[in-house]
């Protein structure tokens, strides 16, 4: 999964960071994006500079540590500890996510343009965008949570959101003896488990952990997508760019 890119040889000061960057690019390729080395180079420059946000391949500042990277290194040490919620609030993490999402969106647009433009409705395109966004979000979680793994493995849970159906409660022979949770709580916990992907059969404590991480991740997703939408609509307002009618 780790491999070196074309600009190997630069920035040998801190090998760890190079490895982490190329892992991200590799994950794009996993999702079928053709390797765009310009974008990869841009991403590399972006990452390396951290918050100073300079484009290009110049790697001068070995100091630029983004919270996401440090958090990632810390998390590698304590594997069994609960996933930290703070990372979803950092700017670095949001920018990571935005980059992944944008690359996935380019792919969605490419595929929808290649196919019959009349066949793809707005709704199916919207759904493709939603799925790409969710997959990118799950990838950003780096496989440490159940919901992210469930999203990456398959999207079967999301389509069928049953309103109230489901198995009736199992016969409570031994269950009547165990009254640690009142049934109202159990019902709500079950509904909650259905909302979060991959968490249907989780006991309550793990479920609550997953839920809090999922909520934090969703909030970040909303922020990132709003920012991208704002930027795109700002460009759409520009007179010279907006009225291009011909296909690219």
């Amino acid at each position: 999964m780790v491999r070196s890119g074309p600009c190997d040889g630069e920035g040998t000061a801190d090998g760890c960071r190079w490895i982490e960057i190329w892992v991200f690019v590799d994950r794009f390729d996993r999702f079928g994006v053709a390797g765009d080395w310009n974008l990869a180079g841009y991403l590399k420059g972006f990452w390396w500079e951290g918050s100073s946000l300079r484009l290009g391949m110049t790697i001068s500042n070995g100091d630029g540590d983004s919270a996401a990277k440090d958090g990632g290194r810390e998390r590698k040490r304590k594997r069994r500890a609960e996933p930290s919620l703070v990372k979803w609030k950092t700017e670095g993490e949001q920018k990571t996510y935005s980059s992944k999402l944008i690359e996935a969106l380019r792919r969605v647009r490419g595929s929808s343009a290649a196919g019959a433009a009349s066949a793809t409705t707005d709704h199916s395109r919207g759904r493709a965008v939603r799925e790409a966004a969710d997959r990118a979000l799950a990838a950003a979680a780096r496989g440490r949570t159940r919901w992210s793994r469930a999203i990456l493995c398959g999207r079967t849970l999301k389509r069928r959101v049953l309103p109230r159906a489901g198995r009736p409660k199992p016969v409570g022979r031994a269950r009547a003896a165990e009254r640690s949770k009142p049934p109202a709580l159990k019902t709500k916990a079950r509904v909650l488990g259905r909302l979060v992907p991959g968490c249907r059969k989780l006991p309550l404590p793990s479920l609550l952990e997953e839920v809090s991480d999922y909520i934090a991740a969703l909030e970040m997703q909303v922020r990132a997508m709003s920012a991208i939408a704002e930027a795109l609509s700002a460009v759409g307002g520009a007179p010279s760019a907006a009225l291009a009618e011909g296909p690219m």
Binding site: V129, V191, L195, P205, V235
Partner: protein, 93 residues
């Protein structure tokens, strides 16, 4: 289809999960909810917190869906070079 869960170990581990622990987790969850940030009352029941959580997740899903629709429309209407400029701009902000 009978659910042949290993009930014995599950109930023993469930009994170790005390009411207090659950309340603790629930209060942590409550701290994440947007409403609870406004009113920090300890008298909110666990069921209410779970209900609020469900509603909040549903609203977040709806928001993401709306944003996806919007993004798909925007992507379809802008050309690639200006989209790239927009993308770079959004990442710089």
């Amino acid at each position: 289809m009978s659910s042949r869960r290993p009930r014995s170990w599950q109930s023993s581990s469930a009994s170790r999960i005390t009411e207090e622990q659950i309340n603790d987790l629930v209060s942590k969850l409550q701290a994440v909810l947007p409403e609870a940030r406004i009113r920090r009352s300890d008298r909110v029941s666990a069921a209410k917190v779970l209900q609020e959580t469900c509603n909040y997740i549903r609203s977040l899903h709806r928001e993401v869906d709306d944003l996806s629709e919007r993004l798909s429309e925007l992507l379809a209407s802008t050309e690639s070079s200006s989209a790239q400029a927009a993308i770079i701009r959004s990442l710089l902000m």
